[in-house]
Amino acid sequence: MKSLAELQAIRDKMKNSMNVRDDNGNKIRVVVGMATCGIAAGARPVLNGFTEEVAKRNLDNVTVTQTGCIGICQYEPVVEVYTPDGEKTTYVKMTAEKVAKVVTDHLVNGKVVSEYTIGSVAK
């Protein structure tokens, strides 16, 4: 049986490698819709994908959060990205596969992945 002893080792390792995080307010917020519509459409792997990908790339300026139903259930899983410049991008019909591209292009390089946005899907 796996025990919490292993977690102590992880804690000690983390303590040594923790950087001081600069919370300068220049945060990007990724918000995943986690209501019934979102979950049924596959929001769980999308949320976990963002969490993993953001951690893997050490993107300290990105926070991943959740919200309820925003009213466009037919486009779920829906992900909204808020950037410090006040822009909001709404990605629709997200999948775990699309997450990597959004992270690389949008969150890292600041380029909106327009083919996944509601504007190009809802024609």
Partner: protein, 182 residues
């Protein structure tokens, strides 16, 4: 919903909405009676008797973005399809407990599915809420408790990648061990 772990994730969202600080999820399998009992209990704002009766109605919802509320009805249906039962107990300012009993050999039984992913989704975006997850088969039980983990972590974030990876393996390995112990 293709698996019960998604229903659990969905119903737990209601607890988060109800401002719970502790959410306890239990899955108990009884191999004698061939039943599976799933419960989700929180210390959130609770509901009045009338409201608790209304939430099983798919056309009842407190939200304003759409006219239906399907989380609880889906969960109820998943249990009743197997010949099982569903109960909801709630008290204002105390909390809510939702339980579903399944007959798991019934043809309409859905798989429990990936509980590690469900717990990870909950913990990663709600680090301030405590989650306790019990999984048991007959008398063999395993428990994951974020309160215990936070004590070990001494202030380090429970939703950091290293810890989340640990939690995922912790649940998967221990749950498999319980499942295979006879």
């Amino acid at each position: 919903m293709q698996e019960l772990s998604l229903n659990i994730l969905d119903v737990a969202q209601n607890s988060i909405k109800a401002k719970a600080t502790l959410i306890t999820i239990k899955i108990h399998k009884n191999t004698m009676s061939k039943t599976l009992l799933i419960s989700i209990e929180d210390n959130g704002c609770g509901m009045s008797q009338q409201q608790a009766e209304q939430v099983v109605d798919p056309f009842y919802t407190t939200r304003t973005t759409r006219k239906v509320g399907l989380g609880v009805p889906f969960f109820k249906m998943s249990a009743e399809l197997t010949g099982g039962t569903f109960t909801i107990q709630s008290e204002l300012k105390v909390g809510t407990k939702i339980s579903a009993l399944y007959y798991y050999e019934h043809i309409d039984m859905m798989p429990v599915g990936d509980m590690a992913s469900t717990m990870l989704s909950l913990i990663s975006v709600n680090p301030d809420i405590d989650f306790i997850y019990y999984f048991s088969v007959d008398e063999n039980e395993f428990c994951m408790n974020t309160q215990e983990m936070k004590t070990v972590l001494e202030g380090l974030p429970v939703n950091s990648n290293e810890v989340l990876t640990f939690i995922k393996n912790f649940i998967n390995e221990n749950q498999a061990e319980i499942e295979n112990s006879k």
